[in-house]
């Protein structure tokens, strides 16, 4: 069963998107393998303290992207292939880069400064706070 323990919901972003991202992160990290089962809508909604409609929206979005598939009996399973892993990784990484670029530009950095900064931190990454 796919775990949602690590998902902390944040204010300010649509919850269904956060759920979708959680699944994508799981796929990329390998925590979610092909055929892993999702908790039922009801259980997921109770686990996260979130309205079932929101969970439904997330599941629909995931289905549309081909990341989960629903069988009869309202059970859903992850669909993970090398292609989907690559696509998710690309999307997550790109999304991260986009938001970083946005904030860097907002702070007044030019492209060359930004690239220099990246080169610096690439080699000396700080320990990520757990």
């Amino acid at each position: 069963m796919i775990s949602f323990d690590g998902l902390r919901l944040e204010e300010g972003r649509p919850i269904y998107l956060q759920i979708v991202l959680h699944i994508k992160r799981g796929i990329v990290s390998g925590a979610i393998a092909d055929g892993d089962e999702l908790p039922s809508r009801r259980i997921l909604s109770a686990l996260l303290g979130v309205n079932p409609n929101t969970v439904q929206k997330a599941c629909r979005a995931l289905e549309e992207e081909g990341l989960i598939t629903s069988h009869a009996g309202a059970r859903s399973f992850a669909v993970v292939t090398p292609e989907t892993i690559a696509a998710c990784r690309a999307e997550l990484v790109r999304g991260g880069a986009e938001s970083w670029a946005r904030s860097a530009r907002g702070l007044g950095l030019g492209l060359d400064e930004a690239l220099e900064l990246i080169r610096e931190v690439w080699d000396n990454p700080k320990e990520e706070e757990q």
Partner: protein
């Protein structure tokens, strides 16, 4: 479908509800928000037939009478349980009077909240009383569960437990109307927000609509109440103006 049409309720010269109209289809979790005295409690009591009113309230087209009143249940911060009747006694009472009483759900919830079956609620703490009140409302077997600030006095852990248990335990056909002050706590739990202000409905929006518009529930509520966010700055200006005069 619970239909509230043009309901007005006056207490002497004060109008508590002014031409309120609302439709509650099955399966929705609706948050009812409003300041103290907005009419939230009055509205619920009118629905339950606990007070007279003008206008019409119907359940699937029928007026609310003894024949269908069991389809509505009520949890209130004033508490409506029998203070000297044990938990088990309540189960027997409810089973005897409400044909759809869900005994299994009652037992599961009592166990989940660690509420004793053989003690009377008079000896419970406030948090436990709130829990017991909600357990009864959820176990009655009603289709529409009206909750009037059921968590007032409960600590935050209590409240979080509530929301999650509610979400886990409700059927698709069960509807909840929950009035509360705690906007931010329930904004992910509800599917629809209804705002009441001085007896009138000033807002009624589904949470997915709100999400699409990008506005937070708090901002929507403030907007609907014409909350003047600059009033604090103005008050401070006025006060420091006074101080400057001395």
């Amino acid at each position: 479908m619970l239909e509230i049409k043009d309901v007005t309720k006056r207490f002497g010269s004060k109008t508590a509800l002014n031409s309120v109209s609302l439709s509650l289809p099955r399966g929705e979790l609706v948050g009812l928000f409003g300041e103290n005295g907005a009419g939230k409690t009055t509205l619920m009591k009118c629905i339950l037939g606990l007070m007279g009113h003008s206008g019409q309230i119907t359940l699937d087209g029928e007026r609310i009478t003894r024949k269908n009143i069991a389809r509505l249940s009520f949890a209130t911060c004033e508490h409506s349980f029998f203070p000297d009747l044990s938990g088990a006694g309540h189960a027997d009472f409810y089973a005897a009077h409400f044909p759809a009483f869900r005994r299994r759900r009652f037992e599961v919830l009592m166990d989940f909240f660690s509420l004793p079956l053989n003690r009377a609620p008079r000896s419970f703490s406030t948090g436990q009383k709130n829990q017991f009140e909600v357990v009864l409302a959820l176990s009655q077997g009603a289709d529409y569960i009206l909750m009037d600030e059921p968590f007032s006095g409960s600590d935050v852990f209590n409240r979080e437990d509530f929301y999650k248990v509610l979400l886990g335990i409700l059927d698709n056909g069960e509807t909840v109307l929950l009035s509360t002050h705690m906007l931010e706590e329930v904004d992910s739990f509800i599917s629809r927000a209804v705002l009441l202000h001085s007896g009138r409905i000033t807002g009624d929006i589904s949470m997915s609509e709100l999400e699409e518009s990008g506005e937070s529930l708090m901002d929507y509520v403030k907007r609907a109440w014409n909350y003047r966010s600059d009033r604090i700055r103005r008050a401070i200006d006025e006060l420091s103006g006074e101080a400057g005069d001395r």
